[in-house]
């Protein structure tokens, strides 16, 4: 019996703690932010929550004359937990919108809920194409894999490269990068060989040997961000960096969060992505500085900018609806366009997908630190998988 009493007491205490925040005269607008804050994808959650907190603080936690309350929850990167937390936030905390979603399955699991509860859902990180098609209440503020990989394939072909080998981790996003890059590259007249490597504990040496034997113009790599530095090391150890094979990839590999720890092995790597902390604009300089100041010198990465812009979309939408949620809020967020730290971006009114520039960057040493320096721009890229 007493176990249940403890349980009840504890839950009641938790509920009280939650309720005591909202003692203001007018009900605050609550936004639920569900992120993987522990476990293997915790860096995603940390970057996004830091950026979202920064944005809310910069707006004095007020929109349309009402207080905004950000409820941050950890889903440990487990899909059924994400869904359950989303459900609790909607049902118990009466949130106006839910946001976050670090990985594709987490967003997919929650999508039916957004439709059922008519709650707007801002996807800040998960990047598979199909997500926004799963619910009319989903808006994406991060990026879509094909949006980066497809134009990159075309660009690489334009540089006169004829043969590329791709190495991707054997999971959803990896397959997406492989497919869309290869499609674009082949369409532009190039030749591609695809290699897939296991997601867990990869030893790249046999695969790199195959690459060395094939002698392509370039090697495209996509691995989860933590594994990137391991890959770089093996690439250099095998002397591939001196063999004339260019190392290219999507920006996930040279993620700003870990780029510095990769050391000189990463120098010269060419990637395509939508955000670099070194993006040259006043908006970005202010963002990077404020972000670093609030987080002990941490450098924001593309996840952070997805979180920051996601909050901006929500705040602008709420301004338009005067704090109202539901379908009205989704409609208000459609078609928004503004200058983000990553450059000019907008939300496509039709697909609810983000439209943004894709930048081609090279890793260089600036002021003692490694940065992705942008040198070419492919403007206003829509998700190519939804154009057709």
């Amino acid at each position: 019996m007493f176990r249940r009493t403890i349980l009840r007491g504890a839950l009641a205490a938790a509920a009280l703690a939650g309720a005591s925040f909202g003692a203001a005269a007018q009900e605050p607008i609550r936004i639920g932010l569900i992120l993987p804050l522990t476990g293997p994808f915790s860096t995603t959650g940390k970057q996004i929550s830091a950026a979202a907190n920064l944005y809310v603080a910069q707006q004095n936690a007020t929109v349309a004359g009402r207080k905004v309350e950000l409820l941050i929850r950890d889903d440990t990167g487990t899909a059924d937990v994400t869904r359950r937390i989303a459900q609790e936030l909607i049902v118990n905390n009466k949130v106006t919108a839910i946001a976050g979603f670090g990985l594709t399955p987490l967003a997919l699991a929650t999508a039916p809920l957004a439709t059922q509860a008519k709650t707007p859902m801002v996807v800040m990180a998960a990047a598979t194409g199909i997500i926004t098609e799963r619910s009319p209440f989903i808006i994406r503020s991060g990026q879509v894999v094909p949006q980066i990989a497809y134009p990159f394939g075309t660009w690489v072909a334009q540089q006169g490269m004829k043969r590329v080998v791709t190495i991707v981790s054997d999971y959803g996003p990896g397959h997406d990068v492989e497919t869309f890059f290869s499609d674009a590259f082949k369409k532009a007249g190039g030749n591609v060989e695809n290699i897939r490597v296991p997601l867990a504990n990869p030893d790249f040496s046999p695969f790199l040997q195959r690459v060395a034997d094939a002698k392509p113009d370039a090697l495209l790599v996509f691995v989860p961000s933590g594994v990137g530095s391991q890959f770089m090391k093996q690439f250099v150890e095998r002397g591939l960096d001196k063999s004339g094979i260019k190392l290219i990839g999507t920006g996930d590999v040279t993620d700003d969060d870990i780029l510095n720890s990769m050391g000189d092995a990463a120098l010269g790597v060419i990637t395509a992505h939508h955000y670099s902390a070194a993006h040259n604009s006043p908006t970005n300089k202010a963002f990077v500085e404020a972000f670093g100041k609030a987080n002990g010198g941490l450098r924001p990465n593309f996840m952070a900018v997805g979180g920051y812009d996601g909050m901006h979309v929500l705040f602008e939408g709420l301004k338009k609806t005067n704090g109202e949620g539901g379908e009205k809020l989704v409609d208000a967020m459609k078609g928004l366009a503004w200058e983000s730290p990553r450059g000019p971006i907008s939300i496509d009114a039709e697909t609810r997908e983000i439209v943004q520039n894709v930048y081609i960057r090279r890793v260089e040493r600036v002021g003692g630190e490694l940065y992705n320096i942008e040198f070419a721009t492919i403007p206003n890229v829509k998700d190519p998988s939804k154009i057709k």
Binding site: M1, R3, R4, T5, I6, L7, R8, A10, L11, A13, A14, A15, A17, G18, L35, L37, T38, S42, G45, K46, S49, I72, R73, D74, T78, A79, D80, V81, R83, R84, Q87, E88, I90, V91, N92, T104, P105, L108, A109, P112, L113, Q116, A117, T128, I130, R134, D170, Y171, G172
Partner: protein, 329 residues
């Protein structure tokens, strides 16, 4: 000639004690009293059922498993696929989940019987890993890493529809949990269950007095797998999707952890552990979303240091010591 005390102990083994009845009454009371928390309570009921299934083989038959989630996952995928391709009636889905897990449990029990403890750990771990990889590779059937989408459940018994607040889902999970718990409880106090204890304590001697060790172990392993399969099926039905994570190692580890918290070999250990673990996680992760794992870890270490007894006994022991009556809990 068995002693009188032993006979009376055996004959009262199956009797429901007051504490147990109160426990289940409290669980039933949570339906009207804790309506706001039905979603997390559903999750607790499901993992408690899963932990109970693990206790059946670990606490009663002495089979340590690091891959019990293989059956949880098999049940979840079976129920999910059954709902998509055959019929979305929830009760039939539970049967499908149980059946799939039971078949898998029966098939793999022969691998498990081959070795001693360490071998078993590795074999069970291996089975779960292999299944996880199959689910990942068979993306056309299972949805791969994106998870199985599009599971829609019909109302239970044609009347009770799963609602957004999770009320129906909770009552449903709790009832299924209770029924299976009663079944498990009946099994462990039956002569069959007692023979398992004999096998656990001394397999050689058990064989010598005529207990068919391998048959019994196969049987309990299959039963345990079926119950774990039902737990997985419940998750698939209440969450209305299946993620590949149901086959992940951490699920097996969590179940073991709950048994460590609650104690093995009395069925309630899994429940106590599940409730303690989830409630702690719920409170701590809301309080400090980034660092709650640290506090969970610290509390676990404390539990182990205080003594590896069951939580209930531990608390009673401290209570008794505080009262100065010695450790007669």
């Amino acid at each position: 000639m068995p002693s009188k005390a032993a006979v009376s102990r055996l004959s009262t083994l199956g009797r429901w004690r007051l504490a147990e009845i109160l426990f289940w009454l409290a669980a039933a009371a949570s339906v009207p009293l804790l309506t706001e928390h039905h979603l997390v309570l559903t999750e607790i009921a499901i993992i408690a059922l899963f932990a109970v299934s693990l206790d059946l083989i670990l606490g009663y038959a002495g089979i340590a498993s690091l891959g019990h989630t293989a059956f949880f996952g098999a049940g979840a995928y079976a129920a999910g696929l059954f709902a998509i391709h055959v019929t979305n009636d929830p009760l039939l889905g539970l049967v499908a989940g149980a059946a799939a897990a039971a078949v898998l449990g029966f098939a793999t029990s022969f691998l498990v019987l081959r070795g001693a403890d360490l071998t078993r750990l590795m074999v069970t771990l291996g089975v779960a890993l292999v299944l996880g990889e199959i689910a990942n590779k068979a993306g056309k059937i299972t949805g791969g890493a994106d998870g199985l989408q599009g599971v829609f459940m019909a109302p239970i018994l044609g009347r009770f529809e799963f609602d957004l607040f999770g009320h129906v889902g909770y009552v449903y999970s709790l009832v299924v949990f209770f029924v299976l718990f009663v079944v498990a409880r009946r099994i462990v106090v039956s002569p069959f269950g007692l023979s398992l204890l004999a096998i656990r304590d001394n397999p050689l001697r058990a064989r010598a007095i005529g207990i068919p060790v391998n048959t019994r172990l196969t049987a309990i392993y299959t039963i345990s797998a079926a119950i774990a399969g039902v737990a997985g099926a419940l998750l698939a039905q209440t969450a209305q999707f299946v993620s590949i994570d149901v086959l992940a190692f951490h699920r097996s580890a969590d179940a073991l952890l709950m048994l460590v918290i609650g104690g093995t070999g009395y069925l309630y250990g899994g429940i106590v552990g599940a409730v303690a673990f989830k409630v702690l996680q719920e409170i701590l992760s809301v309080w400090t979303p980034q660092y709650w794992t640290f506090w969970i870890g610290a509390i676990l270490v404390a539990i182990v240091l205080i003594g590896r007894q069951r939580i209930g006994n531990g608390v009673m022991g401290i209570w008794a010591r505080l009262l100065g009556k010695g450790g007669a809990a």
